[in-house]
Symmetry: C2
Subunit: 457 residues, 2 copies
């Protein structure tokens, strides 16, 4: 954790220098940092401090300030950027690659982003606007349009000269080869250039069978390809197979993290684009619908209990044990659901093996139900002195945990079949299901055996 | 999704060729696939088919079979490998880089892995055993010890010749520079070699200020460094700063996925190393303790209800509404908990801004409580014709959702302060907490106002 310690030291110094107003020293310190470290420092500062430090750095070293902001994540980055006037944002946006600029501008409030686009140099704002035309979460939206390509008629020697005169291009390790109309025809690794003589035509050493992404490909699919084939970058082509951009592995890492976050959030009934510091009002607006749906379904569960108020009236002790059946079912269902949803996301679960997964989870569900049902039955028997109550509780738990396991497999698989994100089969829904079946099985069995149950109180 | 369609076609052909026993055609088809595609095909086959296809391929093209197995993930990969005799595994293990071999061998049943190590060539088994000595989830465990390094006294021309005679080394794009005792002293990018004359000494063009990982560094921290600084690889050094290995970005992507999976699982009370097809018995063994803890805490919640059986006896309708208070609190708590735990994992939440997060979540909690409490109150009033019952229900929901929000922030932060993984503050625990407070607030308020509540039934 040496890196963390170093960042903590920088953070303390930044806070101190801000407090005593030592602008020159502060600027000096900030300029020595890597953009990623600056992003971490910005994250850890209070709002006022962050804005002060950013404004100082943006004035003097716009590129570094913008690189740090790009590393902050789009939402937090845009929020910080939005504290500056439109003229300054327009100038700053031109300091970074247009894909990063597009992502930041896209997250600005709409008035501000329009003003910024108007104020940018026409050529650059056109590139940004063009990128923003691609649908969100597609290859086109995250690619860098500034891709280095070589003509197929070049020799290795010419390629090296071309490379030497383009020192600015982002991370070059695969050299894409195009024909005269910019159709992608092959790829040569940088290393390969070193291993052959300068007169060799590129055509001879290039690999023609290469993996590319269409501009409209979902970013999750792009990430899957890069990860599966261990690529460092993937070329992006339009519908005519013309090379229009490149997505590098560092951007893919961001996509993988974002998609994992989205899955984690959706499973918990949180919108995929929420973050820790999304304003309270916006979080409220995003979470309320989920909770509202759940309230409706909770009333459904309550209605099930309502059917049995006669039984509860006769035996109030049932109210003590009914949350156990529902709660344990909910937890078991969440376990199964999570394993299945993640299995789908990681590509481990397909149609042909879903029956096997169902059998497995059903077995686990019954196993858990039997063990825990037995324990609960004994506890209920010993504390209430009623063996039948114990049996009813234990049996209800076995039933509900079997239901939990099957629903935990079938609901996400069903959603996927309907082309809905399986992570949306969130715990919120599945818990309601296990509540309903929990109450139904426990209170139902209790009603059946009511004359055998002793009124303990 | 063209890639998926292609894999589905291959899958169908493999199944058909297996069925009709067309071994030569099958082998031909398998050998044409990329290892990653083969891994996907293996995943989608039934157990028997997978073993048959793998055994066929392993006989003829051991390297490709092992590369496919490496892409399968360690658990599934080892399970498939374990279907072969030890002698064959020992031979196959030597076909792939020793870090991949070590991971696969480590996941074999212990008897088998010992037998395999005994049967491997002494030099290779020594490398694998050495890797397995590093603690799990550290840089040493995931690095490739076969790292290409150049001596600092070389010239660029000598470096290129060295590179040309080492065509086998994994993904070379950063060339690490070491002194005569193999201390890591710098790095040169492959691209830089192309831009200077052959007589230039490496020392002059290398970057001495480079980021490296210690062998004992946690893999999550390694991944964070690679992602933060947009690296394609990170060199691994021992305590004396001697270069001992390299971790490439493709391995980092696996770590990021695994760590996200671990977080997702732990939040749901599932062990981080479970997978969809972990055998039922093992899944049962892994999940039972979590559910057992939850059963104990569920009895705690039941005991809280037990305090109020007198009130429920007087008003059985309370049993209908009490799951709503508990359930809504549980869902709200899960939302907050998830945002906070993920925020910690992504480095967005630090000590200095945790107070801000608490304030935000408390605001959201109260806001959600007021809106949903009001709706629930009105529904209870209208359906039961009792305004006081509605008020008690609404007030209990506000209280419980405030508790949910604060606990959802404080429990994971507290766990982190105690150096425990915050994801372990799983929904399992937090749900119990909201059950207890939900029952306590609802039944407690009902008891206070019991003479104002009408006995509807």
């Amino acid at each position: 954790m040496a890196a963390q310690r170093r960042i903590d030291l920088v953070l303390d110094s930044v806070k101190r220098l801000l407090r005593i107003g030592a602008t020159a020293n502060l600027l000096n310190l900030l300029q020595k940092q890597h953009p990623a470290d600056l992003a971490q420092v910005f994250t850890d500062l209070a709002d006022k401090e962050r804005e002060a430090a950013f404004s100082l750095l943006a004035d003097r070293n716009g590129r570094l300030a913008m690189e740090a902001i790009s590393e902050l994540g789009h939402e937090a980055g845009s929020a910080l950027l939005a504290t500056r006037p439109a003229e300054e944002i327009a100038k700053l946006a031109q300091e970074i690659p247009s894909d990063d600029a597009a992502a930041l501008i896209d997250n600005l409030p709409e008035d501000l982003s329009n003003a910024v686009l108007d104020l940018m140099r026409p050529k650059e704002s056109r590139v940004v606007e063009h990128l923003l035309e691609y649908a969100e979460q597609t290859a086109g939206r995250i690619m860098n349009p500034n891709v280095f390509a070589l003509n197929e008629d070049m020799t290795v020697g010419e390629a090296i000269i071309e490379l030497q005169s383009n020192r600015d291009v982002e991370m070059v390790f695969y050299l894409y080869v195009v024909d005269e109309r910019r159709h992608l025809v092959g790829v040569v690794s940088l290393r390969r250039l070193l291993l052959v003589s300068p007169e060799t035509p590129l055509k001879r050493i290039m690999t023609a069978d290469l993996i590319s992404a269409r501009v409209d490909m979902d970013q999750e699919e792009v990430a899957r390809q890069v990860a599966a084939y261990n690529l460092l970058a993937i070329p992006v082509v339009d519908e005519e197979n013309k090379l229009v951009g490149i997505i590098t592995v560092d951007d893919v890492i961001d996509v993988i993290k974002d998609e994992a976050t989205e899955d984690i959030y959706r499973l918990a009934g949180v919108s995929g684009d929420e973050r820790v510091f999304t304003p309270a009002q916006e979080s409220l607006r995003k979470r309320l619908p989920w909770l509202g749906v759940n309230l409706a379904t909770a009333f459904l569960a309550a209605a099930v209990v309502g059917i049995f108020t006669g039984t509860i009236d006769a035996l109030p002790v049932l109210a003590v044990f009914m949350p156990i059946v529902a709660g344990m079912g909910g937890n078991a269902a969440t376990q199964t659901l999570t394993v299945i949803v993640r299995g789908i996301a990681l590509g481990e679960l397909s149609w042909s093996n879903s029956r096997k997964a169902l059998m497995k989870e059903a077995t686990v569900g019954i196993g858990n139900g039997v063990v825990l049902g037995l324990v609960a039955a004994v506890v209920a028997w010993l504390t209430q002195g009623d063996a039948v109550l114990g049996l009813v509780l234990g049996a209800a738990m076995v039933i509900n945990m079997f239901v939990a396991a099957t629903a935990g497999v079938l609901i996400p698989l069903g959603l996927r079949a309907a082309s809905i994100d399986p992570a949306l089969a969130s715990s919120v829904f599945i818990t309601t299901m296990t509540d309903v079946f929990g109450f139904l099985s426990f209170l139902g069995l209790a009603t059946l055996f009511v004359q055998h149950l002793t009124r303990a109180h």
